[in-house]
Symmetry: C2
Subunit: 406 residues, 2 copies
Amino acid sequence: MTTLGEKATRQHTRDVNLRLVLRAIYELGAVSRADLARLTNLTRTTVSDVVAELIERGLVVETGPATGGGIGRTPILLSVAEWSRPVAAVSVNADAVEGALVSLRGAVGARIRQPLAGRTGMDALAVLREVLDSLTQAATQPLLGIGVTTPGLIDAGSGAVVRAVGLEWVDLPLGQMLHERYALPVKVVNDSQCLALAEHLFGEWRGVQNVVVLKIGKGVGAGIVLNGQLYAGEGFGAGEIGHLAFTADGPLCKCGNRGCLETILGTDALLAQAHAALADDPASALAQYAADLSLAHIADAAIAGDPAAQRIVANAAAATGAAVATIISLLSVRHVLITGRIAAFGAAFIDLVRREVAQRALPALVRDAEIRLAPVSTTAPLIGAAAPVLTGELGLIRLHQREETE
Amino acid sequence: MTTLGEKATRQHTRDVNLRLVLRAIYELGAVSRADLARLTNLTRTTVSDVVAELIERGLVVETGPATGGGIGRTPILLSVAEWSRPVAAVSVNADAVEGALVSLRGAVGARIRQPLAGRTGMDALAVLREVLDSLTQAATQPLLGIGVTTPGLIDAGSGAVVRAVGLEWVDLPLGQMLHERYALPVKVVNDSQCLALAEHLFGEWRGVQNVVVLKIGKGVGAGIVLNGQLYAGEGFGAGEIGHLAFTADGPLCKCGNRGCLETILGTDALLAQAHAALADDPASALAQYAADLSLAHIADAAIAGDPAAQRIVANAAAATGAAVATIISLLSVRHVLITGRIAAFGAAFIDLVRREVAQRALPALVRDAEIRLAPVSTTAPLIGAAAPVLTGELGLIRLHQREETE
């Protein structure tokens, strides 16, 4: 007869082995039972038992015999069933709530989009629930969990929205509310954090352990991954540099201070600068776009040689460069991705940013830093929203990281 | 007969138990064997065995019976023998090499000081070795290890000095060299990092998990403790904000850029500003100190109402406030200690700094931030140098931290 304690220990060991084997299969892509035993240091019997359970649960599938075998029986390869536990991922932005199922490998399924049309508070929350209802109904497999990204200060531990100004959400226990409604694990991260996770886990810099993503759109903020982990800070405000003052005598910001980066680099600020330039000089190359002026138009006018447009791009590059220099100096990270609507400013802009950074940070740190400009893809926010669920619930996407040591 | 594997496992278990019991005694100050068994979940027999070994090794002593007992035998209390394994701690600064033995509780023994008198490179290293020779000879107990702090970029993993400009050390494998000479574990951290560790482990903010110490002296740099761990960054340059440009058109810095914080806030820069003010206005209150002008004199003149001195203090506060606002915005930390020679500027200065921070960072982050000004104590660099040895070699000073979870 086994005691309760022994049973608990056995169950724990079994869970640990399940995760270990699943992660190994996930990381290796396709692998035989024999190789799994060798790589995990488990016995072949244990591996067979665990694999049988994973197959029964639908998490793992046999994907046919290995090619190019040798003598003896050809081993069967095992793979993670990518869509066996999709994550319902939702991204809330200024205009709309978007959602999709995301696979265990970060693939994004059919996207749903519900415009917010100015709705905030509980009305915006209702739109979020609508999108989640559609996703949960569309899922043909059990969901692994729900991942949400929204602008604002987020308590990642509890999933509460401390404050999201545009949505008028203050101390909203979003994670808990969604958990109660859907009975699924829920993770919430903010928009910059989610892009940093997407880049670190599935982006061009996949596997890079220290990545900062500086998002410059309507708002300005940085998502910070340090030592392979999202860094949110004690007040959940890490990376909130949109309201860091760049100049003491700059424009008044809605936060009450002057010269915040957002009043210089935010999309509204850049467009206001262009409209002001146009008012000053109606002959400006910007005039042709006046009706629906966009950041891309400013970039086009700058390339065409319009001095006012060039000044706007140069000023934006100076402020962006100062922000990146600060990030590199304080965090000593080597990978900074600039993204958001400002990506429309293109190659001339990022060249100016790099030059500004070189003039503002220690040469030894600048030398090793890669600074990239890329637009936000339509899928990155959804992938980033799903990422904490994947890492938290299955312990996936962790094998390539250095294990923690004391 | 036991196999080699079983022996290894038993030895490992014994080591784990030794550390566990030692840490418990260390953290609790004075504790009985019975309480240890209760608190560690080890059996009383195991605790007795482990304690016997710790006493035999001299690490733990019996400190007499507990007071106020009850019925039955009065239990004997156990304490860590504070000086049983001192750390040889050495602090290299611009002027001298200082050293002392540091106890397991961060107490600092008799200090040795050897002026550098302008020596750099291998000559400075010889001074460091002299001080360490004296310390190792003075020790009456086995040393736990060697802890060194020096200005510069340090690879904390290997203990190599990547670059320490003033000392003309470049890619110096300091940790390895000292390890080979003294056959002891060696840890090396830079001057700002060491002050952050001292504050986090033994300072007024002992136990605070996120602390930034901004040192403003000859150089300017920040030491960063995040989640209870020193954060050094990928390029070992985290916190190197002395060469972050504050104004694009500021004074030329020795790093080649303009307007670095060091050219505004470094001691030499502040004194140069005072001498320039004095040259402009020989009637300034600064004149009385002209021969040996110091930062304290500038502060005195400012308090006495001298406009030039007040301007110097105000400008320094503006730059310091900008740096602190950056730290708070990017890292979302709630405890920032400003230290170094600038502490001579006193209460008026820190008030201006706090006001500047409030104008430059998100109100929600500023509201929760404590910003303190304190001079560097004579012992803090030595305590901070010893700290990584204490945490690394005995796993001490860790119990009050949240244990790492995956």
